[in-house]
């Protein structure tokens, strides 16, 4: 059995899930910090 398709699938799932987690964490952090800053300026 050729194992390379399994290896590629495992690395692809790992890469996509890790990048997805980091992108989501980054976006939510930026949005929350921007909102907090804008409320500070409005006061």
């Amino acid at each position: 059995m050729n194992a390379w398709p399994f290896v590629i699938a495992a690395y692809a799932i790992t890469g996509l899930a890790t990048l997805g987690l980091l992108a989501w964490a980054w976006r939510s952090m930026r949005a929350a910090e921007r909102q907090a800053d804008s409320l500070k300026r409005d006061r």
Binding site: A17, M29, Q35, L39
Partner: protein
């Protein structure tokens, strides 16, 4: 550690650390993945499928480490009432759940060529699946508590009780000798894997750990910023 329970002091560390964690993590991960995919030889028994080891083992380690972190944060919240401990617990959960899911997915993919099956109700696989469901339960409970303005004590209790599953996962390969292989890598030495195959593993392990840390820091920063924004809104409406 107690010093960093102060949010302002924590943010002074977290803001510069986030970028460093991301950069160091990505660098180590790319180096480890290149080594694991293209430099190491295939295993004499498993052939090329052994390369899944370099992503599967770090994912398993981080899935378990995430819950250990939740248990420590829960203890700190219940005993010392540290203001950051509930935030840390909530930030650890999505990262831990992601890596538990990666561990299950890559293990299943590895199982097909190695064992001839995608899934077996083996002790290690089942206890890891339970860990993933515990993460989902913790995330839902913590979110519901936060929405109702609770102090997160129920989630903290759940985090502590759920830690019972960690030794079960660890010793499952000794207690129930079914399909999953026994312990082959030890931090204190005595690994049964050849050094020619093993050397990229510390690179991916530390690389993923830094990325995990970066995700947790970003989630904690988001939670603190959201709390700050809510406090400012409350103050503005009161004025």
């Amino acid at each position: 550690m107690h010093g960093y329970a102060n949010p302002a002091r924590f943010l002074r560390f977290a803001r510069p650390a986030t970028g460093w964690f991301l950069a160091v993590g990505l660098l180590l991960l790319v180096a480890g993945a290149i080594g694991g995919l293209f430099v190491t030889p295939p295993d004499y028994l498993q052939g090329e499928s052994v390369r899944i080891l370099y992503v599967h083992v770090p994912a398993a380690w981080l899935g378990m480490a995430g819950w250990a972190g939740i248990a420590v944060a829960s203890l700190m919240q219940l005993v010392w009432r540290h203001p950051l401990s509930a935030v840390a617990g909530r930030a650890l959960a999505p990262a831990g759940a992601t890596f538990a899911a990666i561990c299950l997915a890559t293990g299943s993919i590895w199982g097909r060529p190695a064992w001839g099956t995608w899934w077996e109700w083996d002790g290690r696989l089942t206890s890891m699946l339970i860990l993933f469901f515990l993460y989902l339960g913790y995330i839902a409970l913590a979110a519901a508590e936060r929405e109702r303005g609770g102090d997160g004590r129920m989630a903290a209790l759940f985090g502590l009780v759920g830690a019972i599953n960690l030794p079960i996962i660890h010793y499952s390969v000794l207690w129930w000798r079914t399909l999953h292989q026994g312990q082959s890598i030890s931090v204190t030495g005595g690994s049964s894997i050849a050094p020619e195959l093993l050397w990229p593993l510390p690179l991916t392990l530390i690389g993923f750990s830094f990325l995990f840390g970066a995700a947790v820091l970003m989630r904690m920063r988001a939670e603190l910023a959201r709390a700050k924004a809510e406090a400012r809104l409350r103050r503005a409406t009161a004025e």
